[in-house]
């Protein structure tokens, strides 16, 4: 799997004004029985989108509204992505075409998982977040540009706002670098640490008499 690469993109907004959207809502657990990453776009927000018989709800859930088709930025409420550590959540968001999520805060594990899949969890101050939520609802033609290299988000009126992102994740995504490859460059240090910290846990060998 090639590491994701993120640069600059311009796209529309989708409003999801709910707080504490947990990963059980993003991908319900019964869709976790897959053994690959493919095909999760339909699992995304499944129980908010579909009736029991599999048909789309009417009126449709916001991400299915035709007027938001193709919009790649989700404007969500506070503390997005709490609960389960399932990476199926960013896989499904990515499969659906979401490139960034704007919120006032994110749950830790979701944030880490999203970055590894090239989806930007962007934390905004409450006021700017509120403005963009309103724009998302009112102005369907509005687009936002996100430039990762400068960590700026440009609102429809042309104002550029800086958003926080740690420099390491930023570089990895800009250059399309892989975290596992990065760790592997430190093989000698890993070996040295292992040798000096032998530890007492051994999963292969029970030692106490049974």
């Amino acid at each position: 799997m090639a590491a994701p690469r993120v640069g600059t993109f311009t796209t529309g907004l989708v409003p999801l004004p709910a707080e504490n959207v947990d990963t059980d809502q993003i991908v319900p657990a019964r869709y976790l029985k897959v053994i690959d990453k493919a095909g999760l776009a339909d699992a995304l927000f499944h129980d908010w989108r579909f009736e029991a018989d599999g048909s789309k709800k009417s009126p449709p859930f916001v991400i299915d509204e035709p007027r938001y088709a193709g919009h790649g930025i989700l404007v969500a409420g506070d503390n997005f992505g709490g609960g389960s550590s399932r990476e199926h959540a960013p896989w499904a968001l990515g499969a659906f075409g979401i490139k960034a999520i704007l919120a006032t805060s994110f749950a830790d594990i979701f944030k880490s998982n999203a970055l590894k899949n090239g989806i930007l969890p962007i934390i905004l101050p409450a006021e700017l977040h509120g403005t963009l939520m309103q724009i998302a609802k009112d102005d369907l033609a509005a687009t936002v540009t996100i430039e990762l290299a400068t960590a700026t988000l440009t609102t429809p009126d042309g104002t550029a706002h800086q958003f926080p992102i740690d420099a390491f994740s930023q570089k990895m995504l800009l250059d399309g670098l892989d975290e596992l490859d990065y760790i592997r460059t430190q093989g000698e240090k890993i070996l040295a640490h292992e040798t000096s910290h032998p530890g007492t846990i051994n999963t292969l060998q029970p030692n106490a008499p049974r």
């Binding site: 129980d47 990476e87 910290h197």
Partner: protein, 470 residues
């Protein structure tokens, strides 16, 4: 400089720390299960890599397996394929597996401690957000995503930023009928589901010291429900007594050396934390959640809050939506709400002491008419122990369903689930919309409260049970 136990464990495990980059953190124990690992093994294969330390890796099947008798095949084709994939991956990469028919099988967070693999001072990860359970032993244990599972399989390391520290001091003594579950539900109700984001909790104080290991696990388990990836309790004599003689615990001279080292794992006097909260155990009541996240909990004598009383519009919106989903009315008392199902189990409250508490309430009694009670042991070992003690008979005689070990209705992946609109009182950890089955509604509570409710069919205060008053 005085240090917290969190900093001590962190420092011990930093392999490398480059300016501006996260630390490379060494991992002592990697727990693997069928749901969050297949794509990680696929990744290893695609890169042509091996599992670096099979001797620090252990796998089990718990999430998607049925809890029906083990001589029946797994009926759900996707679940069966997932379990088979785990078996194939473990065989190919040399990872020890306590498979779904093994005598050591169980919920990953139940078997780690049971086997003595969970040890003080260790770094422990699993592709599962309730990995913090292992923090009860004074380990730094946290959940990771599948990309990270792949990293740990390949390198036994992880990229991490140093977490902030959050002291949760619980002073005083719990009243009869009030338990560890109520401490953690009370904490989350106070700080909210995002209150601990970016932090690791250290649980301390006299009420924590008084708890058994299993009760400490219940508390650490739900750290993530307060937003903290990890939560721990500094090890003490209770910890060492629990671990001694367990299959994978050190023994002989190694044991003495280990205990001597583990004794240094306390937070130094004068160590400072980024955040602190104090909870008075004496004032706690049994807790029940009424909403759709674990922060929406209240003391059992309380009434369901009114969105109109919320000053924050976002919180008011969330509450309105939650009450709508739960079909509950503001101002009603939580006691007396009818339930269809009682679920006793999960990595929060599926251990032997939890089952003993519930059995004690149900002994010689009959569960309320029309109520389904499912008792699901956290591991095959818990199940055997319960059967040795005759708890299975107590549950069955009362009219409850006694199942095989697994996650079961905590996550409802395996067919153990609520029907749309049904209510459950559950000893698990999440009351999210649909968590226990699409359209199902969950009240989280302790095993005592759940068992008391099983008898009446409506949410009942365990303090009214015989022997609970003082």
């Amino acid at each position: 400089m005085p240090k917290t136990i969190i900093e001590k464990i962190w420092n011990e495990h930093v392999v490398d720390q480059q300016e501006g980059a996260p630390a490379i953190l060494a991992i002592d124990l990697h727990l693997v299960h069928e749901v969050t690992s297949p794509q990680a093994f696929t990744g290893l294969r695609a890169r042509g890599l091996k599992v670096r330390r099979p001797d620090r890796t252990v796998a089990t099947a718990d999430h998607s397996i049925p809890t029906t008798p083990r001589n029946l095949p797994i009926a759900d084709e996707m679940a069966a394929a997932q379990v088979k994939q785990l078996e194939a991956n473990c065989a190919e990469f040399g990872v020890p597996l306590h498979g779904w028919e093994s005598p050591n099988q169980g919920i990953v967070h139940v078997i780690g401690p049971e086997l003595g693999l969970t040890q003080p001072g260790a770094t422990i990860v699993c592709g599962d957000s309730h990995t913090a359970t292992h923090g009860a032993f004074g380990a730094l244990a946290f959940g990771i995503g599948t990309s990270e599972v792949e990293m740990v399989l390949a390198t036994q390391c992880l990229l991490q930023r140093k977490p902030k520290t959050y002291l949760v001091r619980v002073d005083g003594t719990l009243r009869p009928g009030v338990s560890a579950k109520d401490i953690i539900l009370a904490l989350i109700a106070r700080i909210g589901v995002g209150g601990g984001t970016g932090h690791v909790f250290e649980y301390a104080g006299s009420a924590i010291r008084d708890l058994s290991m299993e009760e400490r696990m219940t508390i650490c388990n739900m750290s993530i429900e307060g937003g903290a990836r990890a939560g721990l309790v500094a090890p003490d004599e209770t910890t060492f007594a629990y671990l001694k003689g367990r299959p994978h615990a050190p023994q002989g001279a190694d044991w003495d050396a280990a205990v001597a080292r583990w004794r240094t794992l306390t937070s130094d006097d004068g160590a400072t934390y980024d955040k602190e909260i104090v909870i008075d155990a004496d004032t706690l009541e049994p807790m029940v959640t009424y909403g759709t996240n674990p922060g929406m909990g209240l003391p059992i004598s309380g009434t369901i809050p009114n969105p109109a009383d919320e000053s924050d519009p976002a919180a008011a919106r969330a509450l309105t939506r939650a009450l709508e989903y739960m079909d509950l009315r503001a101002g009603d008392s939580i006691i007396g709400r009818p339930v269809n199902t009682v679920f006793i189990g999960s990595c929060t409250n599926g251990r032997i002491s939890d089952l003993r508490l519930a059995a004690n309430v149900l002994k010689g009694q009959t569960i309320a008419k029309g109520v389904r009670v499912m008792v699901v042991p956290g591991s095959a070992d818990v199940k055997r122990q319960a059967e040795r003690e005759g708890l299975d008979k107590i549950f069955r005689d009362a009219g409850a369903d006694w199942r095989e070990a697994g996650c079961s209705m905590c996550i409802a992946m395996n067919g153990d689930q609520l029907a749309p609109g049904e209510y459950a009182i559950s000893t698990s950890n999440r009351n999210f919309e649909g968590r226990q089955g699409k359209g199902g509604r969950t009240f989280l509570a302790s095993p005592l409260t759940a068992a008391a409710t099983a008898l009446t069919g409506v949410i009942a205060d365990p303090r009214t049970l015989p022997g609970m008053s003082r």
